[in-house]
Subunit: 347 residues, 2 copies
Amino acid sequence: MADEKTAASTRKRRGSGRATIHDVARLAQVGSITVSRYLKQPSQVSGKLGARIAAAVAQLHYVPNLVAGGLASTHSRIVGMVIPNISGPIFANTIESFSDTLSTHGYQLLLASSYFSQEQEESAVRAFLGWSPAALVVTGPFHSKATEKMLAQAQIPVVETWDYRPRRKAIQVGFSNVEVGVQQARYLIDKGYRRIAFVQNSVAGDLSALDRRDGYAQAMLEAGLKPWTFIPTEAAPFDAGRQAIEALALRKKPAHAIIFANDNLAAGALLAGQRMPHQCALMGFGDYAISPLLIPSLTTIRPPAREIGELAALRILEALGAVPLDGKNANARLNRLACAVIARESA
Amino acid sequence: MADEKTAASTRKRRGSGRATIHDVARLAQVGSITVSRYLKQPSQVSGKLGARIAAAVAQLHYVPNLVAGGLASTHSRIVGMVIPNISGPIFANTIESFSDTLSTHGYQLLLASSYFSQEQEESAVRAFLGWSPAALVVTGPFHSKATEKMLAQAQIPVVETWDYRPRRKAIQVGFSNVEVGVQQARYLIDKGYRRIAFVQNSVAGDLSALDRRDGYAQAMLEAGLKPWTFIPTEAAPFDAGRQAIEALALRKKPAHAIIFANDNLAAGALLAGQRMPHQCALMGFGDYAISPLLIPSLTTIRPPAREIGELAALRILEALGAVPLDGKNANARLNRLACAVIARESA
DNA sequence: TTGTACGCGTTATCAC
DNA sequence: GTGATAACGCGTACAA
């Protein structure tokens, strides 16, 4: 009987078929703009109309069309994130905490992987920009020129994560890899080791590991010790680790301790080392899931992955006004986090 | 001089400031629709105009506004995915391969975690729907009623991943957990073990583990053996695993072999078992990163995580017409994948 | 092959 | 507090 109107507006030519704000407005007998206001700031709509609108929304299963809203307001509630990879042991926690913090405040995460390739990063940023995102997150400070330009021209908050580089313009949320290298070397020096080697990653593109090596070298020199770097040729991490420990521990003057560019290298060395005569202290970086389970368990550095994601999201939300500024730390552009030494059995 | 026109259309009231398709058209001295066509199907535009358009695009750094495009065409090139978690050892590969396959074809991934909560899944689906996504991916077949309704009403491809349930309407891409349970039991039975126990997950909400237990029980009965299930009370996986092996192996008639609901439980048991007198075969599920590194290395089942993500994306792209249908398998609604037994030292 | 007119569903602006 | 109107930037339909 009275159903003629409930059946949404017929005779649409291209509509999506979903209920629109106009359908809700008609059913609630108010103007469509009032519906819009009610959904955003209920306090600005009288209780009487509000109740009618709420009923209409429920009855029609109305879901606001964010695409239309984004077009009208020239910015969407989407935040894009470009991360080197998702499945590796490193970034997953950052992605997860970032996404969770965002969605708590009604923002959605658009995600893409770059695999440490500046070209892939560039194309992801370009694609994201098409969505007029509210903000953009990239990993590290090394981008193609085109990416730099796009990030600069987009009038939105940009966050660079993981690698703390105060000289850059983007909001920084991360830690200093140089400092981590210092931290690693000092930890071992304090333990009394003297011949301490650093094993680089055979994977190119891992520029942050080079920073850690620099920090290590600096701390060694400060302590009057000689830096000693080994570069594996094996590609697979476990193999590279084995190669390294065989080269460094099986010699006349073997290494007392070895710092590896990451925990996978260290794990490879550790597994190989179990069958070797000489014991040698090993230290990794990353605190992967395997590290506490190895025998002996691996001493390593734990990067604040989850913290980075959460803080990046928070800084973005602050910049967007979605979250109140937090006192003196308000909207800090520079957010330097600390890495923890996880002391276990291997060093 | 002739720059008056290049400087984009001024006097806009609300514009985003970015160059629009009209700016490009004006600079290239063509109609805006021709620009639109050139960007989508360059073959339908003459070489002369195409070159002019390309130059204008480059000069203005034009990035198409996907929000406006999505509104005009009533469907965006976004695909939403709701996954239980990102940082765990299970789903990351699926997310990554899914995202990569999508982005190869110009689609973007909108991601959210549900943490096995139907409420969180529902709110993520609702939020995604606001973007008029081209398709939606959820994990498993268990959803709230409201989610079911939304998925059914959205006139888009919906894919359920991981858990293969042929009776459901959505596109299925996954494996049968019951079948995996059968597979596990048969592997151990064939190895000659007789007293084979199954250790459940202490975490509620892991319904797929119950399916594996059912498959295990079924295979045991078929072989004339008695199913034997243990439910840990410890919450942490490693603790639960230790608790299980102590309960099952330290008794008058100890278990010959134990199947665990996942590799973490098995790892906990394995580490505890190293200090126990009685040796007992252990088998996990998941093939986590730690599993090959344990001593003894863990025999387990590897789910086709990466394959699931890629195939889910492929089926979606087929359904959307972005990829040609593939012969007889064309747009298959049912995609049952196999899990591989990874035979290692522990069983 | 190319162009014109209009609509997609919402929000900003301004008036009441 | 509420509403009418005009953008937002692009794609569809149809005409040339």
